[in-house]
């Protein structure tokens, strides 16, 4: 999966960051021992820190899922009243669905309509209009 590759990238980046931190600490203690405290950190440690930071950030961005639009109203553009006016906590059940969908008790069985030609019955359930 692509995401495990990016997880690997983040892991490598974090490890490199930790490694650079240890090297810097070790370098500091070496400087203290040899009393040359005015020498700056060697450039390869600095480069390693910056590079591993960039790699970690890049990897995290890829792991963390889809970006959303900054414009707050844009993700509402497809919302309609069909769904907005449904309040699940206030659903009423005394509508005609109670009668419409009631299983016919003693109706003579009518020949059921044949299933649509190409689409298998299962897929049709999902594709009706949503």
């Amino acid at each position: 999966m692509a995401s495990s590759f990016w997880k690997g990238v983040v892991g490598v980046g974090l490890f490199a960051l930790a490694h650079a931190a240890f090297s810097a600490a070790q370098h500091r203690s070496y400087m203290r021992l040899t009393e040359k405290e005015n020498e700056t950190l060697p450039i390869d440690i600095v480069l390693q820190t910056l590079l591993s930071f960039v790699i970690t950030c890049y990897g995290i961005v890829h792991i963390s899922g889809e970006f959303k639009d900054m414009d707050a109203s844009s993700e509402l553009k497809n919302k309609t009243f069909d769904t907005l006016r449904n309040h699940p906590s206030f659903y009423l059940f005394n509508h005609r669905g109670r009668v419409l969908f009631r299983a016919p008790e003693q109706e003579p069985s009518t020949p059921s309509a044949q299933a649509l030609p190409s689409n298998p019955l299962r897929l049709r359930k999902l594709e009706n209009y949503h």
């Binding site: 509402l76 059940f93 949503h130």
Partner: protein, 294 residues
């Protein structure tokens, strides 16, 4: 593969408040019967979703079996008790349902779900003024409940108390400034109230809804209607009249353009752009015979 698609569809329907109960029962029943073991912990919320859809579709057997599964897994849960109450409501056993909700509220006075169901019972029994009163009391305590504000606005609209409905929608617009649908519904309520200031206000809110979402056709029609009415009113100055005629003309052109684009995209749409423009102007003339109350 199928079951992942089905599960994702069910989640989409659940999160976006779709009430396509027939489809939910179809898909959910299959998912439960065939793939129950592979769903893990998702299955409980699917049971809840399918149960409510089954109540809509009069599938009491399915609802009962879902309820039994949930009761077995969560024996003392208030949420499951509420579902049992909903089932009683669907069977029109309102006293039993009320007793159940009262027992939940005795256990936990802050339970909002039970209070909302009691209000729905009042509404189902047709006692709308009591439902409104109870809902107002509920909203005094839980001011941030968006669903309840919208429900209250719907109750007021059914009672033709448009001023109070507008107030509820104002609360909603305040907390959701980027939602074009609340702006548009507010504009519609103001338009229905009638009177010159309300019409101008309606036009402004329709324009705001269009600013937030330029594909909102209802707002476009609303802008056209309110601008034409303001222009036709005898009490306005010539400048205001001219401006509103311009707005109405712009809205009409946008509407006919939208239909034209749609016609080009879907070859078999029967309405022609010319026909729609004619229809729009005919509607305008009909309305000049004053159907709205001024």
């Amino acid at each position: 593969m199928m079951k992942i698609k089905m599960r994702d569809k069910l989640r989409k329907w659940r999160e976006e408040n779709f009430r396509n109960s027939e489809q939910i029962v179809d898909v959910g029943e299959e998912l439960i019967n065939e793939h129950a073991s592979k769903l893990g912990d998702d299955i409980w919320i699917i049971y809840e979703q399918v149960m409510i859809a089954a109540l809509d579709c009069s599938r009491d057997d399915l609802a009962w079996s879902c309820l039994q599964e949930l009761k077995r897994q969560f024996p003392d849960s208030h949420r499951v008790k509420r579902l049992a109450g909903m089932r009683l409501e669907a069977l029109e056993r309102y006293e039993d349902a009320n007793k159940l909700y009262d027992s939940i509220l005795q256990d936990d006075p802050t339970n909002t779900a039970a209070r909302k169901r009691k209000i729905s019972i009042l509404r189902a029994q047709g006692k709308s003024s009591e439902a409104i009163r109870e809902l107002n009391e509920y909203l005094e305590q839980f001011v941030g409940d968006q669903e309840a504000w919208h429900e209250l606005s719907e109750l007021y609209i059914n009672e033709h108390d448009y001023a109070k409905a507008a107030f509820c929608l104002e609360e909603l617009m305040m907390t959701n400034p980027h939602n074009h649908l609340y702006c548009e519904q507010y504009g519609e309520v103001k338009y229905t109230q009638g009177g010159l200031e309300n019409l101008e206000l309606a036009r402004k809110y329709f324009a705001q809804a269009l600013k937030l979402n330029n594909r909102n056709m209802r707002a476009l029609f609303g802008l056209y209607m309110s601008a034409s009415h303001v222009a036709a009113s005898p009490k306005v100055s010539a400048k205001v009249k001219k401006d509103n005629v311009k707005y109405a003309a712009w809205a009409a052109s946008q509407i006919s353009r939208a239909y034209q684009v749609r016609r080009v995209r879907e070859e078999n749409v029967k309405c022609s752009a010319h026909g729609i423009t004619k229809a729009v102007y005919t509607v305008a003339m009909v309305h000049n015979v004053n159907i709205i109350h001024l």
